[in-house]
Symmetry: C2
Subunit: 769 residues, 2 copies
Amino acid sequence: MKKSLLITIGALLLFASCQNLSQKGVLVNNIDELNKSIKEASPGDEIILANGTWKDVQIKFYGIGTKEQPISLRAETPGEVFIEGQSYLHLGGENLLVSGLYFRNGYTPSSGIIRYKIGEDSVANHSTVTNCVIDGFTQPSRLTSDRWVEFYGRHNQMDHCYIAGKSNDGNTLMVYHTGNENTNNHHQIVYNYFGPRPRKGGPRGETVRMGNPQMTPGYVNVSNNFFDACNGEVEIVSDKADYNTFRNNIFYKCEGSLVLRHANYGTVDGNIFIGGDDSPFYGGIRIVNTGHWITNNYFYKIRGEEFRSPIALMNGIPNSILNRYKQVTDAVIAYNTWVDCKSPWQLGVGQNRASAGVLPASEIRSLPPIRTTLANNLIYNTKEDASPIAKHDEIDGILFKNNILDNNGSVYSDYGVLRNEHVAMKRVNEWLYAPLESQNLFLDDTFAGYDFKRIEKDLFGDSRAEKSRVGAINNLTTAEGFVIDKKKYGPDWYSTDKVPTVPNMLSATSAAGELAKTIASAKSGDIIDLSDEVYLLDAPLKIDKEITLRRKGENKAQLIYKGAANTPAFEMNPKGIIKLDNISIKGEKNQLAFAPLAENMSSAYYLFLNNCDIDGFDYVLRASKGSFADSITVSNSNIQNCNNGIVLAADEKGDYNAEMVTFENCKFTNIGQNVINFYRGGYDESTIGGYLRVLDSSFEKCGSSEKSGQLLKTRGIINVDISGNTFRNNQVKLIALLWGEKNNHHSENVVTNSGIIKVEQQLKLDILY
Amino acid sequence: MKKSLLITIGALLLFASCQNLSQKGVLVNNIDELNKSIKEASPGDEIILANGTWKDVQIKFYGIGTKEQPISLRAETPGEVFIEGQSYLHLGGENLLVSGLYFRNGYTPSSGIIRYKIGEDSVANHSTVTNCVIDGFTQPSRLTSDRWVEFYGRHNQMDHCYIAGKSNDGNTLMVYHTGNENTNNHHQIVYNYFGPRPRKGGPRGETVRMGNPQMTPGYVNVSNNFFDACNGEVEIVSDKADYNTFRNNIFYKCEGSLVLRHANYGTVDGNIFIGGDDSPFYGGIRIVNTGHWITNNYFYKIRGEEFRSPIALMNGIPNSILNRYKQVTDAVIAYNTWVDCKSPWQLGVGQNRASAGVLPASEIRSLPPIRTTLANNLIYNTKEDASPIAKHDEIDGILFKNNILDNNGSVYSDYGVLRNEHVAMKRVNEWLYAPLESQNLFLDDTFAGYDFKRIEKDLFGDSRAEKSRVGAINNLTTAEGFVIDKKKYGPDWYSTDKVPTVPNMLSATSAAGELAKTIASAKSGDIIDLSDEVYLLDAPLKIDKEITLRRKGENKAQLIYKGAANTPAFEMNPKGIIKLDNISIKGEKNQLAFAPLAENMSSAYYLFLNNCDIDGFDYVLRASKGSFADSITVSNSNIQNCNNGIVLAADEKGDYNAEMVTFENCKFTNIGQNVINFYRGGYDESTIGGYLRVLDSSFEKCGSSEKSGQLLKTRGIINVDISGNTFRNNQVKLIALLWGEKNNHHSENVVTNSGIIKVEQQLKLDILY
């Protein structure tokens, strides 16, 4: 009797308490009500943002909750509270909890969108943001810098958020370590979905970055996140603080690496890097500094080289200044698996003694890794890799133990540090191979290096205590049961599965304004057939989505541009993608064929031209400052009678105006100057872009007004290939001046009365840092 | 009945177990028996070294003990096992315990005497050396480098040891941090007595050093040690690793500082620094880098300046290379007390923008401290200090809060960061002052900076929870009960209290050989009266202890040196101290008056001459390479008719041949060259020695054969004072070339026909690192 009474009272108390809690929730409808509620909030209170669009709301959420009774700020319905316009959410205080918000159609007027700090005296601690989305909340100009998530304080968390589409300057998520109140911070960044971040062109495009080159303790935990096509720059994750952990993340087709840059004692365990055949830029893990443990990671078809290689152990600089390269020491790389990667082990990356003539001594990376162990790893190739190891410097500072290579039957014996074995693997799914149980694989005698006992589990969480195989996977059965469950990442109310749309097939006649209208009303991806032969355009065609214009049949459609001077026939807007096929564009000597907006190019644009003619313009393409073309591909086309060709040379300081530029089987005739001028100003050796390919094309009577005396200008561009072309009667001294030290090449060109192609091994540039 | 039976059985078991343990002890009498025992030892075993002298024993003590059952190596009777000759003790394995050994009369043939590592593969962990002595176990040559204690591995301990008398190159105790097996090591260095370490002259004379400039985690605990006259160099303790703790140590009359050099996040709490009026070199705490907490420390009569100031916050170098100076950031200096110190707060020490012309940019310390807090401190002076703060650069990066100054009634208002108050103090003992309880001293509102809650206790362990006064001492009663108990430090069997000896008063006639014999048989400190007027010496007098020679009465005793060419009348040996009073020394132009041994000058020598004549020699004094004079003081004396004067110029690379050199009221006549040549080669800005004072003396007809054209040569010497002298008819261009940037001065000299004294503000020297 007594007992049941107590239970009843307990239940009543519990009920009363829940009631009480839920009664403390207050629905707010506008910023004034919100601010009032924030001001009055006490522990346990819940502030509920009413569904709908909140425009231009700059929320300073300050409060002191308790661990048991946080102060909450949440969407009435998760995903149905849209934060738009010039908005942000800054947090300060203790034990705050935010959930369910959706940032879109706007940008922050501050340094950050979600910031765990309000002002100098008000950081947040023990506070969490969960279940939110930031999608495309990017600055109007790519050159304007911000961060989307700024961590300050200690013990803060972001989980189950979706963040994608940042195309402007600045890391997506930054953890600040400056000041005692921000060090030793133990932040948790878990179960988020970092969606696509487009190629930015230049530095400061990381998705996650921690700290400065000051070597402060972090203990940040970045685990169980999904990184999807995070292509902002060569570093997806840039770790510049100590004692951080990266565990069980998936890096899916990311054109960059997880980089332990100024970090020490990092733990990188159980991550999966999935690449593919479709890009040579997918990256792995790059290591600088001391004491990192790289264990149980799995790499599939990671084909990046050097800075983006599957595993890059960098060379250091003797007595380096703080922001350059300390030597790699005391690293452990154990129990990892590489499947069908290209030269997965790159040792001494960045060794550049040959540049001693053009770089100061303080830039020369001459110290190879030391006191470093590579043990119990597995490299498996279904096709032979000619060089599983790329050795850039001495490797006698590395201890190699029990590493197995199955090179599809070929024996690879360079350096004598890999044991060639046949390994029976089961292909579990498209990207996952796991060894069959039947074979030994050092089960009896895997190498036990110093402190290896801390490697307790394998990639999928199976214990290594009883048996421990080389490679990341200890147990076939568990591997067979593994699937990537995208529902684990990001908000439960937001699907990252994009529904593929079917393009509409449209057409436009040459009636005045019809083409422009058709484009304006088309949806992205639509295909417009040009049904007539000649189109007069008296104003630029605005391209702010993906549009294909094509002409069926033999003859090209002719677009004759009659617009104002100094305007382009095609005005490329952010996210504009134009695909032209079988089209001729004719203009006048004061017009441009293509140009991005003069400003506010918040996102990249794309040009794809096939079987086209461009004739008579001042410029074929002229980039504006801050604009960025992700890809420019021109094939089977004629470019002729223009004052200038393709000019991508508006930016400075490491930024540049296009990533992938390709001309294939084109014919350039009578282009006065700047036939191609692709430029990156300033030397920042960690940015490795700019790709120009000029293949199987011809250049004739070009460069007659070129002051530089150089036909194809590629200064500062890292990757250039000029091959199979014909140069005839171009009045220049140089066809090109290539940078031999970098990835600049030429071959099989036929040159008649056109100067020469010169290769300068070392190029002297201003250093940016 | 039952109960008492159980107790009985328990007692029996306990007894049996003790028996068993003690039965496992084995007494060894020589190195072979020792090696055999080491080889056979198992957990719980005790190897006992028989009393007596063990000569040339190179002990490699390897074993795997357990925490409960360590393997022990101990003296039969603590302090009665003497390790002599070329010997060492190296440890490797786990859970070893060494105690009671006495190292003396020898030196190590290896890098270390006590080393927690045997070979590359064999470091010691969880091992302890206790209750041992290393006294004067120094290398024959000061230039030979070793360390006396070398920590490797993890979780090792040294406690209750006495270590003194190292005069050769190299730190006394070094903690190595290279390699994962040596980082995060948590060593305990506690309750040791670090006895006198003489001035070394040049770098690498630290008493305790941790790590390299690589910023590795240490967690070393250096607590409750006594540092007595550790004068090796400007750094007594050089901390170059992270997260180390220095607590409750006593620094007694140490001419250097506890320096957080390449360390970060150091804790320096509750230490006592006792100086005095007898030296201007006693130092305090010097801070570089980030995140240090300096709390509850007490400083008494610390009069060092700049690098040795009571608290020195250094300036940093922008983007410093690893081995230079990072900016001070995020430091907290709170609840400390300074009593009768000179300019206790030195802010921006090392600022050297003015040297930009002679030093590379990478040496210019232009970054003052930032994000740094000085709060709740107390400065108390019984005599006014004209400048309690020495401001070397901007201080707006420092937060000053609730700091109290009692400047003996004077108001000091520079920079407005100290609050002038009358503080009633009780003098508890010679060096300890504590505030009376009656006054407020911010009891109600001491500043609570970020994370100040970690400052839980005061200097003497009293809680700060209830009340918290400014300064190191929270409670007068506890302070009144505090005494320094030297028995806490070092071995229990070894007394550090030196019994003062009374000198014997001896005399020697001029009978052939009598003086030499008398000196040879004297004990250190004895005084020998020269009873005759003329002494013919046909061989050098060997001085290897403290000897005073004097002549009573008006006339000087004449020592006429008839020894071989190129030999000295006085041969200075290690630890030789000669004091001459009222003596004339006459020699020939191929002899030396004074000279140290040509080699194996393992320890410093001293010269004190008063009322003497030196006449007719080739050299008055010629230093040999590696020799070091701690002090040379010549007063009221005539130095004449010699080819060379005092030449202290045999070393290079930052080492130099004497520390304190003084001439007062002396008369130099007809010295051909090198009248004074005091030289330090190479620039090492953290070495701040060489002191030359030339006061109230006269120089006449000197320098006639001086090739440099310079009378007094002081190149590279940091401290020079040339004042009140008369220079007449010296055929030189320069009397001296002084280094204006350093502590070089001249005043009130009268110069006739003798060139000039020139001051060069910035001197360009080779940088040593």
